[in-house]
Symmetry: C2
Subunit: 121 residues, 2 copies
Amino acid sequence: MTERPDVSADSLNSQNAEIACYCPLGGVMDPLSRRYAMQVICVTGALGPARYGEIEETFGGVSSSTLSTRLDELVEAGYLSREQYAEIPPRVEYDLTEKGDELREKLDPLLEWAEKQETLS
Amino acid sequence: MTERPDVSADSLNSQNAEIACYCPLGGVMDPLSRRYAMQVICVTGALGPARYGEIEETFGGVSSSTLSTRLDELVEAGYLSREQYAEIPPRVEYDLTEKGDELREKLDPLLEWAEKQETLS
DNA sequence: CAGAATCCATTCGGATACTG
DNA sequence: CAGTATCCGAATGGATTCTG
């Protein structure tokens, strides 16, 4: 099919070689392997600073507790920043951190592809 | 930071516009939002036809039941094919389907980035 | 508005043991 | 080898209620 890089033992140059061991990737991948996590990263990037309600709207019927948890985790992981303004009504804005934006760059193509899959199914 | 596409109401051209609603993406994203799922896609792609044991090795201490479930789901979702040979000892090979390979293309950059994050942390 | 808190059913994922 | 079967604790995620 498309060309497939070989994973021969001596291709240890991490530039070209595929990863030989996926064990340590969990630290990064696990927080992303949760419901809505990747979508939250991308939607936050697309909206720029995004308010809670805006993010919530882009999903159909997510419970606030679930989304809240996800947001907390992504803030914790350093992908999102959370700015709270002492206004009335209160306002909270989430935004991508630099690290989060790097991640979003990798995620966007995936979500676009996912979108395409949905439409043609 | 990096340029951020605007999501104005009239940019309905799905070529340039970001996705406005992430509701329907669950169908594609949910199976991927499970532990090891994305890694399994990529490692299978990297290995070419991959045997169960080979895949298992690339993860540290995954339980067989978990990996088995994940593999089944990805076969079910149409990303992996499963070929069983009536030999002794038995041999089973997993491989990416065409659809799975498309997905892998989107996933590889992500996993490479994840790997980099791990090393510099 | 943006959630935190609580409760709860379901699911997930790991450990272990067993099989063709 | 490549799983399946079973059990179980932990985590997930939803509904609902409440709050500053």
